[in-house]
Structures are given as C-alpha cells and as structure tokens.
Symmetry: C2
Subunit: 343 residues, 2 copies
C-alpha cells in the first residue's frame, strides 16, 4: 500500500488537508501517511525551512500531499524558494499539472461561459525558466543598483515537458495542444520552445497544435476559455495563466495541482493552488475541494485511476448540490465527499 | 503647431490611423503629419526594418502615431525587436501607459462588472526587464541546447517609472498605486522594485499603496477589476496584465497605449494595443476607437489636454450609442467622432 508524506503547513493548510485525508481513507483504506511539520510555524520556532534530513525522508515516500505554506510574517521568498521550489527542483518535478474545469453548480465570473464548457489542463514546466534562481544584485541600495533574473531553458527540460503535454493530449477527447510563449520578444528561449514543440508534435500526428503569445493567451482565457484543451508553457507563464484559468472556473478555492516527476525517480507533490489564507484560518470555513481534488491527482499518479475518478465524481456531485453564495463548512464538505466515495 | 510622424504600418494599421488623423485634424487643425513607410511590407520589399536615417528623422518629431506593424510572413521578433522595441528603447520611452476603462455601452465579458466601474491605468515599464534583449543560445539544435533570457532591472529605470505612476495617481480621484511583481520568486528584481516603490511612496503620503504578486493580480483583474486605480509593473508583467485589462473592458479593439518619454528628450509614441489583424485588413470593418484614443493620449502628452478630453468624450458618446454586437464601419466611426469633436 502507498506511503505518503503529508505537509499540512500553515493557515488553512491543516484544515483542508484533514479533509483530503478523510477522503483518501474512505476511497482507498490503508494508505500510510506520515506527517511533516514544515512551513512558517516551524521556521519561526526553529529557523529551519527544510532540513536535509527531512528532504531525504520525504524522498522515501511515494508522494507528498501538501496543504499550504506561508505567512505574512515570513519574508518573501524564504518559504517559496526554501521549501516549495526546493522540493520541486530537488525532486525534479518538471510537470506542474493544473487542470481547470467549470463544474456544474459553479458560477464563472464570465457571463457567457456555461458549466461543462471549460475543461483544460495547463502543463506548466516546473524546474527551469525564471524559477531557476539565477539572478543577482549589484550596488544594492545605491543609485547604481542593478538586479537581474535569468530564465534558463534547456532542450532537455523543455522537450520532456512538451512530450508530457502531447502524451496527455493524445489521451483526451479533443487532442489539442497550445504552446504559449513570447517568441516575438524572448527570441532565444522562444525559439528553443518552438523547435522542441515542433519536433515532439511530429511524433503525435493525431494531436492538433497551435501557438499563442502569452499576452494573447491571457486575453483568450478570459474571452474564450472553451478553446483550450492542453496548454504547455514555461514556469512563469504557467504560474500566471493557471491563476487566470482558476479565476474563470470559479476561483483558486477549487483549483488542484500536481508537481509531478513522471519518471518516478522522486515523489510527486500535490497541493491546492490556493495559499494559506491566514485571514480565514482556524474557523472551519475554508473550501477543501482544491485539496480533495489534489488528493485525486495524487492517487491517479500512484496508479489508482479508479479511486481518483470516484473522488472527482463525488466532488462534482458536491459542487452541483451547492446553491450559489452558500457558505461552506470545511469538515462537512469532507464528510459528504468521503461518504460518497465510500458508498 | 505640433509635428507628428505617422507610421500606419500593416494590415488594419493604415485604416485605423486614417481615422485617428481625421479626428486629430478635426479637433486641432494644423497638426503637421509626415508619413513613414515601415513594417512588414517595407521589410519584404527592401529587407529594411528601421534604417538609422529614418530613426534620426523620427527623432525630430514631437510624437509618433503608429497603427500596427506585423504580418505572419515575417519571422517572429524581426519587426518586434527591430522596430517597435527599437523605438521604445532608442527613444527611452520608459513609461508604457495603458488605460483601461469600461465605457457605457460596452459589454464586459464579466457578468457582474458594470460600465463606469472599471477605470484603471497600467504604468508598464518600457525599457528594461526581459525586453532588454539580453539572452543567448548555446549548442543550438543539439540535445545539449540551452537558451537564456535575462531580466535587467536598474534602480534608475525602476525608480523613474514608479515615480511616474505615483505622480499620475496623485492627480486621480482614488489616488492608489498597486505594485505588481513576483517578489517571492524573483527575489533580486522583486526586492529592487519593492524598495524603489517604498522610497517613492514616502514622497506621496496622500497616495495609498498595495502590493500583489503577478499571479494574484491576473486573477483579481478577472474577479475584481474595479479595485485597481494605477498599477505599476515591469515590462513583461505589464504586457500580460494589460491584455487582461483590455479583455475585461471590451477587448483590445478599444485599448490605447502610449510609449512615453516623460522627459521630452525624445518623441513619445502612441498606438493601439491591437495588432495588424491581417484577417480583416482592407475591408473597412476594423474598429478605429483604439487608434483614436491613442491619438487622444498623444495630444494630451503634447499639452493639448483639452483636445484630448474632447476626443475621449466623443469616443464615449460613440460607444454609448452602439448596440451590442453591432458591426462597425471604420470610416463611419471616424466620421462620427470627428464631427463630434469639431462641433
Ligand atoms: C508560492 C509560489 C512560489 C508558487 C509559484 O509561483 O509557483 C505559487 O504561486 C504557485 O503557483 O504554486
Ligand atoms: C508586439 C510586442 C513586441 C508588444 C510587446 O510585447 O510589448 C505588444 O505585445 C505590446 O503589448 O505592445
């Protein structure tokens, strides 16, 4: 049976993760979970973000379920670079998978988009680009200060994530992949992405392709999100586009994500797209759906496609039964979904 | 009287620019315009994008009015880097100004946003960041290929654009500036931006401030565009956010922009945010409103605030009189607005 590591984290993290675990236990009894105390609280208590010994222990698990880490009291970058990105990079989680679906029962902020019409997945590159941490500062705090950030893109890194996107598209109904970049300005990285995309596309004659500049894609996600099936893009563009995709499909409260190492060399990590939301933490009102859907992605990745599909269906039923504007009680949502998947 | 250079460009560029000039002539007779033939057509004919002699001639004008350049037959980057960005950088147009307003008569794709509620302006940095052209490729077309793009940010460049944003905000009703960056990942550039922002904010105690990560801002532009007044951000983030802002306020067909050198050392350049739209070129159906509003920004920059305000009011009347879904005839729109500003 699978052994997973659980990082509940800060703010609403522990609350939503508790429901995700409830649902996992209901759909697939016997998954072994070990809790790891990481995040803002530990950082404040011990000064540690991610000790090497913990990284090694995490590596021994089949997957990681993460709630949310972060708190306004921690300087920007400490937990992001030291924990989240450290895990994504150390565990070579090069596929950052972010599905967006407009579920029946959920209202889109877009006037003309109807439930069922949007069903896209962004395959965001997870280990390169501007997230590589290649940058520096000179003459800090003087008028001569200069700060740089470098986007690093390798053929190796780009091709493997593009291939993953095509493989996913070939298993979907519409079989379409949209490459998003900014080839007209970022000509070096853009050309590498475009050529890798073209090469992989040739291996998938049944998958149709298109290219869009990132600014155009950001616009079309608002005006015509229906047009997308699989979108593949770089780390930073993917960060931005997936928040737009989440916004038009009911908000980040519903958005799940997986940081996946498809090779299986390292554990993959699954987490809601939302943050720790300290403002509503501890009140039992956070929507656990994003965490529950992240658990479904986790089980799917571990080969339990059937259990994953049952969770997804139960979430669909949960959302369809909600009345717009209805307040949510975290534990009740988890109870209902757990009951449904156990049935 | 002002002397302007006109680059009508490709596709629908000449059509919409003709209407913008009609409106300028009506509101402020005597503006002297010289046409410059630049864009895809010239590139194909002569291989030239922007000869030095033309750059020098353009520099001698008070402002530049540009329609649109580009065509699918030109490789990505050639006209963007060689013409548009060349002008922005050569003429130190460090303020890329992009107002977004939801006009009465215009339908937003957002269900709950009403005309009059959105009135924001993005002050996008125009001469630094990932647009600097600092990047390279090694081992091209081999499995070892690596491509880089570098974001260059100077205290000088950041502070001046942030100062411009605060100056604009202090003249507006809500007096609020939102800094958008990604300080939690791009820690070097993010820190420089945040510190410059804080320093300038101290000079404007009447202006309120907030900070958002770019992914959150992209989301809030979709869910709550009303919350923004002035947004200041870097070159690439500004590119993406302004397309979202345009999308939620009726589309890039209405979005104007100015690439401004506030010091007046070089001419500023004004252009619609939309592209050359070769698919509808030559049919007289392109909406010239974005070009006309760009002309208003141009006149405002040249000190003709009154003429600019008259154009803006006439555009408001034109849009309010449209029925949703109504087809537009380019020349008729220009005629109506010209008649109104002349009256
Ligand atoms: C917290 C931050 C480092 C992270 C990112 O930028 O990837 C988050 O925005 C996300 O999308 O997972
Ligand atoms: C054409 C391109 C270089 C340009 C940009 O990225 O700045 C355009 O998208 C814009 O927004 O003006």
């Amino acid at each position: 049976m699978a052994r997973i590591a659980v990082v509940a984290g800060d703010g609403i993290g522990p609350e939503v993760v508790a429901e995700a675990r409830k649902v996992i236990d209901a759909v697939l009894p016997g998954v072994e979970a070990t809790e790891y105390d990481l995040g803002a609280a530990r950082y404040h208590r011990t000064g540690e973000v991610l000790p090497d010994s913990v990284l090694t222990e995490l590596a021994g698990h089949d997957a990681i379920l993460l709630g949310a880490v972060g708190d306004p009291t921690v300087p920007p970058g400490v937990l992001e670079r030291g924990l989240l990105l450290k895990l994504r990079f150390s565990f070579d989680q090069y596929v950052n998978l972010r599905p967006s679906r407009l579920w029946p029962g959920v209202t889109s902020p877009l006037a003309t988009v109807k439930p069922g019409e949007v069903d896209l997945v962004v395959v965001r590159e997870g280990t390169e680009g501007l997230y590589a941490g290649a940058g520096g500062t000179l003459h800090r705090d003087t008028p001569a200060e200069v700060a740089t950030e470098e986007s690093l893109n390798t053929r190796h890194g780009v091709e493997r994530v593009v291939r993953d996107a095509f493989a996913r598209a070939s298993r979907r109904e519409r079989r379409k992949v949209t490459l998003v970049h900014k080839t007209n300005v970022l000509t070096h990285a853009g050309s590498l992405w475009a050529r890798a995309f073209e090469a992989v596309a040739a291996e998938y004659p049944d998958v149709s392709t298109e290219y869009q500049h990132v600014d155009a894609a950001a616009m079309f996600l608002v005006t015509q999100p229906q047009r997308y099936d699989v979108v593949v893009t770089d780390n930073l563009f993917g960060d931005i586009l997936t928040d737009i995709a989440a916004a038009v499909t009911g908000g980040i409260g519903l958005a799940a994500s997986g940081s996946i190492n498809p090779d299986g060399t390292y554990p993959s990590m699954f987490e809601p797209v939302h943050g720790s939301a300290p403002d509503i933490a501890g009140r039992g009102v956070a929507d656990p759906v994003a965490a529950v859907l992240s658990a479904a992605l986790l089980l799917d990745q571990l080969g339990h496609a059937d259990a994953a599909a049952r969770i997804t269906a139960a979430v669909g039923a949960e959302l369809a039964a909600r009345t717009p504007g209805e307040a949510v009680r975290t534990a009740e949502v988890g109870d209902r979904i757990a009951a449904q998947v156990a049935a």
